[in-house]
Subunit: 343 residues, 2 copies
């Protein structure tokens, strides 16, 4: 029961040192493994530490070392599968690299993002990775000399490293897939076009249309809200137009969910009445009938890569900012087909 000893206060390194009959300095060296310590002394100190249930005080260590073994992670919405998988990947990479993750959810709000950045600075985190909502994340952290890696989208394009996917190329080939099937009226659902993600996806869509010699119909670029319900409403009104599109390209998994529900609401059959393709894969897309054709990004890999990049920078293995592009794959399921009455 020795290790279950429950003293009133927590054991400090001083007590460990006394129990082992050495000085604090020696105990510190023995436990941290830096500097000279005789092997038998090290063993004695280790035993004493175990006996007393000693756990290092990270706050004292961080204060002395002027940096913690913490990595800050900010995401926009943990309930969204994309972000939770990202966080899972980041968590795993942190653990592998010996860091502890501090996860904050900014709900997509700039104010929450700013508060998160301040929290990270206060905690003296070693670095931060996140899916930024504004340019202020990187700006604020840079001012405080905290390394940042932007993931999924970029705001500080040339000052910090980033891990992204090639949104433009993926959106282009997705659109080309629909064009090849014969679709001419292809609607693009996007929640925003201010970030690199939305902007690049819109650009890829436009690239494909242009290459096919088709004019871009602005009424087919539909701005939706941020959640599935808003997307459903937008898709319903889109699909009720007399000249309704023959295919929908949903900008992310939530918008795809909205589009799917909209089609169900209106009694439209996928892919017979309308084709659907999604940017961003989600578990439900392989469970419904037909399955939803989607551009799969691997958010877990993005999270892992973001932390790995950060850790490399912390280790000084990196010169300037770098950009990692995580590959995407198109998963063909059954939700796309030739349009029944081609335009």
């Amino acid at each position: 029961m020795s290790t279950t000893e429950s003293t009133a206060r927590r054991a400090t390194i001083k007590e460990v040192a006394e129990a082992a009959g050495v000085s604090r300095s020696t105990a510190s060296r023995a436990l941290s493994g830096t500097g000279y310590v005789a092997e038998n002394v090290r063993a004695r100190v280790r035993a004493a530490a175990k006996e007393l249930g000693y756990v290092v005080d990270a706050t004292a260590r961080s204060l002395k070392q002027q940096s913690s073994r913490l990595v800050g992670v900010v995401v926009s919405d943990l309930r969204n599968a994309f972000y939770s998988a990202f966080a899972a990947g980041a968590a795993h990479a942190c653990r592998t690299a010996g860091y502890t993750m501090v996860l904050l959810d900014d709900r997509g709000h700039t104010e929450d993002e700013t508060a998160a950045a301040e929290t990270f600075v206060a905690l003296r985190v070693a670095g931060v990775v996140g899916t930024p909502v504004s340019a202020s994340l990187s700006a604020f952290l840079a001012r405080h000399r905290v390394p940042v890696v932007e993931a999924d989208r970029r705001f500080a394009e040339d000052s910090v490293s980033a891990v992204v996917v090639d949104n433009r190329a993926a959106a282009r080939s997705t659109t080309e897939h629909l064009l090849a099937l014969g679709h001419r009226r292809i609607a693009l659902l996007l929640d925003e076009t201010d970030w690199t993600t939305g902007r690049d996806r819109a650009a890829g869509y436009a690239d494909a249309l242009r290459a096919a010699g088709l004019p871009e119909d602005p009424s087919l670029k539909v701005p939706t809200g941020w959640d599935a319900e808003a997307a459903r409403a937008a898709a319903v009104s889109l699909l009720q137009r007399p000249d309704r599109p023959t295919a929908l390209f949903a900008g992310n998994n939530l918008l795809a969910e909205g589009a799917w529900r909209a089609a169900a609401d209106l009694g439209l059959s996928i892919p017979d009445d309308v084709s659907l393709v999604a940017f961003d894969d989600a578990p439900w897309m392989s469970m419904v009938t037909p399955g939803v054709t989607a551009v799969r990004q691997d958010p877990e890999a993005i999270g892992r890569a973001a932390v790995t990049t950060l850790v490399a920078e912390l280790a000084g293995e990196q010169r300037g900012p770098s950009t990692v592009v995580v590959p995407t794959t198109m998963i063909h399921r059954g939700s796309t087909a030739r349009p029944t009455q081609p335009a």
Copy 2:
């Protein structure tokens, strides 16, 4: 540009004090709001802090105060929607209460859980909430005087607070629903029966059968693996038996996914060939046709309640350990019907 000042080192409270022409003590009081400070002095200190971009050093504060404003959260698998929603709820409640969440994913491994507990102790977190994997989480933390709230399942039933759902009652009424439809061969898929969750769900299932005067057929209580793929395999072999069950009761969302895929693999129609009901709701269950009837637990509410309970304990508003039971609701969709050939 004053606040964008980027000095080589971070500003300390001493520098703020000097800039404002007061002592460190006064600056500390002015910023933290405790003790007497003249209003004009407070304003001057605030201005100086802003000017210098001062952010308090949480490591120094925690060291001095012997406790941090951190709450540790452990979950078993962030990629699982149940846990990510739980984490989202916990994150939100932490933020509301002025705490910062440190989130660790133990992948369901006891060793990782122990490591997480040690990390929390090292960080001097104010308290911990989590979905425990073993009794050692609470035991270790109790030894170090760190308050814990167990969520979803319990290991330290009478020593720490918990936030759970009434698994037994919910499983019983779910089973009763199937019995009322005329099902007599109802299979129960569970990944474990060692924790309170699996044990209580099995007990509720047994309660219902007993009340209906039906014998319990052990071969219908199917142990699956931990993931959807293992559940699919188990369900496939179950549904291939000559005396196959007319209804499946899946113990959680992953097992329901496996069961759904198994039915699809075998070309069995739900609910015509087999009824399906799930413990634990998930987004896909309302997107597939037919929708999956499910017991909805609100994991976000569980996360919120767990943190709220913990914070109440930290504030000393609580006598002994308490138990919060978060209500569940049964969502009827289309996956259950009368059996075609009743036993």
